[in-house]
Subunit: 198 residues, 2 copies
């Protein structure tokens, strides 16, 4: 896979050892996450919104209302900052200072491209449903033209992007290792349960 683009914006400065610019690593995080956050500067003030995303090839997709203030800023050409964070563990160290969390995060800077072609838009909606449950797009009643029109879809090129990953146990100071304090990792997992039928 190709490398991503490293610029002054997406280069990881703090915690560089945790940084990754590997497309496969980044895509795996994006695909596993069900929630992202998108931030845009609107008249000099950052606006951030949680949203649902999905990926099609080298683009990250978001949908929403065109009346949304944040989406209107994207239409004006503002560059968005989109983040995803999967929490994998609570890391308990012997010292207060060395407590940490295990996580996998992605930060993407990109301008949004409004998906206007009807076929591309329909394929994008199908991919969104299949992200939540594989094959779902061929089970559900397809969207009508009107339903398609009220929702905007934006595609963000996954180029100016970075990941940060922390794994493993606590990094205690050598002099703290003998302390009689419990330490280790409590794993954090996301569980999708069985369907509760409607």
């Amino acid at each position: 896979m190709s490398e991503v683009l490293i610029t002054e914006r997406n280069r990881v400065r703090r915690g560089r050892k945790k940084a990754s610019y590997d497309r496969e690593t980044i895509y795996r995080i994006l695909d596993e996450a069900l929630v992202c956050n998108i931030g845009v500067s609107v008249e000099g003030q950052a606006m951030v919104q949680p949203s649902s995303h999905w990926r099609i090839g080298d683009e990250l997709m978001l949908h929403g209302s065109v009346k949304n203030g944040l989406f209107r800023a994207l239409l004006r050409g503002e560059t968005a900052c989109i983040t995803v964070c999967l929490l994998d563990g609570l890391v308990f160290a012997r010292s207060a200072y060395n407590h940490s969390v295990n996580f996998r995060s992605v930060v993407l800077y990109a301008k949004g491209r409004l998906v206007e072609d009807a076929e591309e838009k329909r394929n994008a909606f199908d991919a969104m449903l299949d992200h939540y449950s594989p094959g779902r797009s061929s089970e559900a009643r397809p969207p009508t033209r009107k339903e398609m029109d009220v929702t905007a879809v934006f595609a963000f090129p996954i180029e100016e992007v970075s990941a940060k990953v922390r794994t493993g146990g606590p990094n205690d100071e050598p002099e703290d290792l003998a302390l009689d304090v419990w330490a280790g990792v409590k794993p954090v997992t996301r569980v999708i349960g069985e369907l509760i039928p409607d």
Copy 2:
């Protein structure tokens, strides 16, 4: 509990029926979440970072390095936009269009106050540890002066804030209810596992 402040910034415009300005609802979401996202506009570009937060009374707390670009913007007096989102369920409707997610989210606009008083800062660190595991601050080796100094703590007043909550099953169109398509909710839960000792 007192009401929060509703301004043009935090008033929910899209999906108003899901909106809440109730402090108890907001605090419960903030306290349950282990990850937030903080966005700040830096020279007209939104920068967003996942972070860990905790709450002390009517303030939301964040910590990090003072060398962090986003934290430097806070020191300059930029207003942050901080979000939290708990995903509670995947909502499968009979129609593609009515698929949704159950969630509880909070969006807060606030300027950060740098916590400089040594005792207040120490109490803030203790509260952070106790957020991850009640009583942890009295078990772990306390932070040294040096450890305290390398980490900055910011307090954000929880005033200009709103929550959005979606619960329940799919909202299908009446004419879709007879379709032979499975529908319902797959609950999503976060599980904190047993300690894996170091």
